[in-house]
């Protein structure tokens, strides 16, 4: 039993303080909800406080106490967890996403009289498990935290349970989520089984651990079982990313989910998927790079084309964001391919920085856009035609400006953060000599400008009175409200950061 004792001693819970505090915060929220008096609705104050506090904790930790830009990372929990600077950045990122999601969702929940405490608890738990997901260094840990994220999202997506749209979206997400987790698990089983029963050399003692699998895969890259397992694992992950041909659920689920959850799904869940994919392809599956590069390139090309072409004809802006999210996943996949196809003398870190920066710019812009959408959303959240935004600039210049900057950044208009993000990806793709993918990316970006600008134009320019034959005055069905002060400040901050990051980010990347 001595070995088990060693195992037990390797569980260093101190490393996971943020995750543990999030989980306990969620428990606290649930308990308080259970004990509260009838009729008194508890808000999300505690959740905001917790998530915001942790964010500050992280930032402070790196600013003042423990700047470790170049650490190789440390392994803990018997190889379940691998901490490193990039993973910490992503933990921060998820905390930020959770904070924004809770904040953006609150007004809608209050208006619909839906329980708030549970929502914030679920958002916190999802954030905690995503934070574990990006640190996991073991397939079992990966599977469990991935499923926890997924289960949280099943509930969050169908949270507007009064709306058949939301429930339908939840159902679709669940069915495909379960399908993809079965596929992922089969892949894991294949990799595990071949590694564990490998007779060629010394079988790894822990065949689920990334570190051990890396050696095994590198030595057995021509085994069909390894390839089939990898294909299954990639298919399972591609679902999370919304990469083609596993993208079909994306527009529906994005449309049906509550807007704040859509943002969370689009940004945090997808980012988690990308970081996991990055960890996998540069870690355990690195030995298969010859096999992976053409495969992922194909997936990336289809994804970019599909996302952009699909978005082109959408008039419902939530579906449009869904399709465009698929396209962004395609661009990010190019980054992933660059990471494995890179020249050996180009550091992997610069690719990771390109991906992280892209995620960052994407999340800032997306939260800006989704935030505005949330403010303007009609009673039925899923039903948001583009015409809802017509001449918003005249009614609510602030919201219109936020929206325009967000969309501009997503489209990649030069001075904004989104442009730099795309540029960084272009640069890494160029350095990795992925010229074909580069061409597809450029094509995608060109198409994207069209649909983003159609929306911006709808927002900024008033409709023409008599271009069409019908001379009807556009009916003003609703007058948008100004968001609460806190929300407005956050939106302003997002916009400002999007603009500033376009000008100043070169030194941020040095840490990677």
């Amino acid at each position: 039993m001595n070995d088990f004792k060693l195992y037990a001693e390797a569980n260093d819970w101190g490393l996971l303080v943020p995750e543990i505090s999030l989980a306990f915060g969620a428990l606290l929220l649930l308990c308080r909800e259970a004990l509260r008096k009838q009729g008194r609705e508890s808000g999300g104050g505690l959740a905001f406080l917790l998530q915001g506090g942790l964010l500050v904790y992280f930032v402070a930790r790196y600013l003042f106490f423990d700047p470790r830009p170049d650490s190789a990372g440390e392994s803990a929990f018997n190889g379940m967890i691998q901490q490193s600077f990039p993973a910490d950045v992503m933990r921060c990122f998820f905390l930020g996403c959770a904070f924004l999601t809770s904040l953006f969702a609150n007004p809608g929940l209050r208006e619909r009289r839906l329980p708030q405490a549970e929502f914030h608890a679920l958002v916190s738990l999802a954030a905690a498990s995503m934070m574990l997901l990006v640190q996991s260094n073991h397939f079992l840990m990966l599977f469990v935290s991935l499923e926890t994220v997924a289960v949280c999202f099943y509930v969050l997506v169908s949270y507007h349970r009064g709306s058949p749209y939301s429930l339908e979206a939840g159902l679709k997400y669940l069915v495909f989520g379960a399908l993809s987790s079965a596929i992922l698990l089969f892949g894991i089983a294949l990799l595990y089984g071949t590694a564990a029963s490998w007779s060629g050399g010394t079988a790894p003692s822990d065949p689920l651990s990334f570190t051990m699998l890396e050696q095994f895969v590198a030595a057995n890259s021509d085994s069909l079982a390894v390839r089939a397992g990898t294909a299954f694992v990639l298919a399972g992950l591609a679902f999370k990313l919304g990469a083609a041909p596993f993208q079909a659920w994306v527009p529906d689920v994005y449309q049906g989910a509550p807007t704040a959850v859509t943002a969370y799904l689009a940004v945090a869940s997808k980012s988690a998927g990308f970081v996991v994919l990055f960890n996998l392809v540069t870690g355990p599956l690195f030995g298969l790079r010859e096999f992976l590069i053409p495969l992922l390139s194909l997936v990336a090309i289809i994804t970019i084309l599909f996302g952009n072409l699909g978005a082109l004809t959408q008039t419902n802006v939530k579906r449009l964001m869904g399709f465009s999210g698929v396209a962004h996943a395609g661009y990010l996949l190019v980054g992933i391919i660059a990471a494995i196809g890179m020249h050996p003398d180009v550091p992997e870190k610069s690719v990771f920085w390109a991906i992280v920066f892209y995620l960052l710019s994407y999340s800032l812009a997306s939260y800006g856009v989704f935030g505005v959408m949330g403010v303007l959303a009609p009673t039925e959240d899923a039903d948001q035609p583009r015409s809802l935004y017509s001449s918003l600039a005249q009614k609510q210049p602030f919201l219109a400006f936020t929206l325009a900057v967000g969309l501009g950044s997503l489209a990649g208009i030069p001075p904004l953060a989104g442009f730099i993000g795309k540029l960084l990806l272009f640069v890494v793709a160029f350095q990795a000599e992925l010229y074909g993918l580069l061409a597809v990316m450029v094509m995608g970006v060109v198409i994207a400008i069209y649909y983003y600008f159609a929306w911006i134009r709808e927002t900024v320019f008033p409709p023409l009175p008599s271009l069409d034959s019908s001379d009807k005055e556009p009916q003003v069905l609703w007058s948008p409200q100004f968001p609460s002060l806190l929300l407005a400040c956050i939106l302003g901050l997002l916009t400002l950061t999007t603009i500033l990051l376009g000008f100043y980010q070169s030194s941020l990347g040095q840490s990677f």
Binding site: M1, F4, A26, L30, M80, T148, A225
Partner: protein, 182 residues
């Protein structure tokens, strides 16, 4: 030899049950076939010396999950039989694809080892996670090496519980009922 007979008998039963789930039109029948498949799987676990899992399989799946299914079927209490035949195209594509999956798996089968190591009742010192039949080692592993995942799984169940309560609760909601059926 016993083992072999058990394997062939119950894998046949399991595959039959599985196919019947896919083919039966009445969900109640499907649920019962499903229980058949799951229990057969538990027996297959037994032939693999995974006694603890076999028990778990019967308890969790056949006991809890399938009862939940049946409960929902009874609760909805309507005619749930499918009227339309499955789409031929879909069926063909499905068969082709699934056939491809099987084919690929069969191509590979020769690669693995086919000899089972003998099973001890306690883990050896050098290899604490060697395969054992007892549930004690199972517990040890879960509470030491896999302590973190087990905690996460606990939260997963919590989320599932909270979610099920939230979504299943029947309360008056300010909703857009008017849009239903559109």
């Amino acid at each position: 030899m016993n083992e072999e007979i058990l394997f062939y008998l119950f894998s046949t039963l399991m595959l039959f049950g599985g196919s019947a789930v896919v083919l039966s039109r009445n969900p109640v029948n499907a649920a019962l076939y499903m229980i058949l498949a799951l229990v057969s799987l538990a027996v297959l676990f037994l032939t693999l010396d995974a006694f603890f899992l076999a028990a778990l399989q019967v308890l969790v799946y056949a006991g809890a999950v399938m009862v939940l299914f049946l409960f929902v079927i009874m609760m909805l209490d309507v005619d749930l039989r499918e009227r339309s035949r499955p789409n031929i195209m879909a069926a063909a594509l499905g068969l082709v694809t699934t056939g491809a999956v099987v084919a690929i798996l069969l191509t590979w089968v020769g690669e693995g080892s086919t000899i089972r190591p003998s099973v001890g009742s306690v883990p050896t010192p050098g290899n604490p996670l060697a395969f054992v039949t007892g549930s004690k080692a199972f517990g040890y592993a879960l509470l030491t090496k896999y302590m973190l995942p087990i905690q996460v799984a606990g939260f997963l169940l919590l989320v599932a519980m909270v979610g099920a309560i939230l979504l299943g609760r029947r309360t008056k909601l300010k909703s857009s009922e008017g849009k239903d059926g559109s």
